[in-house]
Amino acid sequence: MSQINVVFFASLREKLAMAEYQLEVELPLSVVDLKKTLASEIEAGHHLLDKGVHSSVDFEFTRDNDMIPTSAREVAFFPAVTGG
């Protein structure tokens, strides 16, 4: 089992009422499987399964089917970015 830090941003952070969450998971694991795990562990976690929830692993953008490697330290979930 690996310990990973999960962080949330913007509207998703507000919906979950949580900025950060630590959990132990068996890696490698797909991003979508991590979303499902979190959805069952966190109150209001079903928002993670909404359309338009984007992700990153150790600062690199990822997609639902990407695998989170055993070396991963931090996974983030957030809505589409709106900078500039």
Binding site: V7, F9, A10, S11, S56, F59, E60, F61, A76, F78, P79, A80, V81, T82, G83, G84
Partner: protein
């Protein structure tokens, strides 16, 4: 130079820093500002800009490196503000220096396009008591196709 900061920036200063004596032939710059987005008075409206410390800087570095691989550039500066911003405030500065204008224009345009869709920033508009997160627009994503 790549910087994410709360404080405002001075365009003239950033412009001077992009110049290299006897070498620079062109500087292209873009400044993004907060538009008035509501029917309410200016004083009742503001923006909150959130970012993901570490990832945002990483994203901006990747975008600038990609621009440097595509065009022969002399220097690039990207400044993006975060925190609370009022109407008419400056949000973002992108400046590119090169020997010739074509690459300076193109790289500045490219960096802004990617910054809009591939850098971890989120805007929240507040009108009076009501705050609302800004949604991403399809045209920003479509704009990236120009560069593929």
């Amino acid at each position: 130079m790549i910087q994410v900061q709360e404080q405002d920036f001075h365009v003239q200063e950033l412009y001077q820093n992009l110049l290299e004596a006897n070498v620079t032939g062109a500087v292209a710059m873009f400044v993004g500002l907060v538009r008035h987005f509501s029917d309410l008075p200016v004083e009742a409206c503001h923006f909150e800009l959130e970012h993901y410390p570490g990832m945002t800087e990483h994203n901006l570095k990747s975008i600038v490196n990609e621009a440097k691989e595509r065009w022969p550039l002399l220097d690039v500066t990207v400044i993006h503000r975060v925190g609370r911003l009022s109407i008419n405030d400056q949000i973002v500065f992108v400046g590119v220096s090169a020997a010739h204008r074509a690459e300076a224009f193109a790289a500045c345009d490219f960096i802004m396009d990617y910054l809009k869709s591939r850098a971890a920033f989120w805007k929240k508009e507040t009108q009076g008591e009501k705050g609302q997160w800004v949604s991403a627009v399809d045209k920003d994503e479509l704009s990236l196709k120009r560069w593929s």
